[in-house]
Amino acid sequence: MHELAIAQSIFDTVIREKRARDLDAVDKVGLRIGVLSDVLPDALTFSFDVICQDSELGGCRLDIESVPLTLTCNKCGLSSTTDQVTFLCPSCGDPSVRVDGGFELDIAYIEVPDPLSTDAALQRPAPAES
């Protein structure tokens, strides 16, 4: 269950981004997860929900994009993409391939709610009178 540790890293990173950019709220986090990253999306989503509860990211959702394995053959040069976990060139069958994609565990984007339609905006206190 390393998904809990990974969810915590995502949470920490998003909080840092949110504060650095002075955002009121973040309601979605886009992830790119390679087929070789050994992360279970359901377990990750569950862990993330638990961590976000009662925090300034309460209600924030994950949008997980699965990234296929991308190989470049060292022999014939073919670049190929597969959802299977195989390290053989589909063209010449050679096992000597470079992995160009599939190990990703990246935060691609964060999404900020529409300022006019969110609860966060409605509940925001009016600016203090000066």
Binding site: H2, T13, S37, T86, A108
Partner: protein
């Protein structure tokens, strides 16, 4: 409309950063670092015990014994003659991470160490993405496990540089086939260096020790030339 803000950050960037610091500080001291990974019970601690018994007086070896709950493995390594052994109890975490290693190294005297071996938590999934600053991962598989393990845990076998097939004294008592496991592992990672050993009978261990000696000696001359 909701607004999307591009971030493009690695989730484990903080761990990667700490691991890079560890790698730099080990390199400065010319320390070779290995990260041992396997399922529980494949024989990581046993191989480290044999290694200490055989090389402990010849090489300056430090070990960090990761475990979820106990310090038993570290105690075994001390009994095997280890002079620089630290337990690393994760208290539940299924993998070691770079922060834990930084913490242990900070109260370890590694100045003159030549070889650092980290025994990770017994698990072929969770530790694979967490860089500890090692030079290479060594993955163990024993003959009492399935010979299709490399296919079931491809990320770990792809990220490892060495595979040790342990418990060959038990070959023939199960369906485990050495040729099959070699073929499966090499289909995931054709660059794997493979050893076949028995920590019980001692079979194959001389080749393992010779490789470790070579690994260490390839390191140190660079320091001598430089200074």
């Amino acid at each position: 409309m909701a607004e999307k803000i591009e971030v493009k950050k690695k989730v484990l960037s903080e761990n990667d950063r700490l691991a890079a610091d560890i790698r730099t500080s080990l390199k400065e001291r010319e320390i070779v670092a290995l990260n041992f990974v396997s399922s529980p019970g494949s024989g990581k601690t046993s191989l480290l015990e044999r290694t200490l018994e055989a090389l402990g007086s010849e090489l300056r070896i430090a070990m960090i014994a990761g475990d979820v709950q106990t310090e038993n493995d570290a105690d075994r390594l001390v009994r095997a003659g280890g002079e620089r052994v630290k337990p690393l109890v994760t208290g539940g975490s299924c993998h070691l991470d770079a922060r834990m290693i930084t913490g242990v190294l900070s109260d370890m005297d590694i100045e003159d160490v030549e070889l650092l071996i980290i025994e990770n938590v017994g698990n072929l999934v969770c530790p694979s993405g967490f860089d500890l600053g090692e030079d290479m991962k060594v993955v163990l598989i024993s003959t009492t496990e399935g010979d299709d393990k490399p296919l079931k845990y491809p990320a770990m076998f792809r990220r490892s540089s060495v595979m040790v097939i342990n418990k060959v004294d038990l070959l023939g008592t199960s369906d485990f086939d050495v040729e099959t496991v070699r073929r499966n592992a090499l289909s995931i990672n054709p660059d794997l260096k493979i050893f076949e050993v028995s920590c019980r009978s001692g079979f194959g261990l001389d080749a393992w020790y010779a490789w470790l000696r070579e690994l260490v000696s390839e390191r140190t001359p660079a320091a001598l030339v430089e200074s």
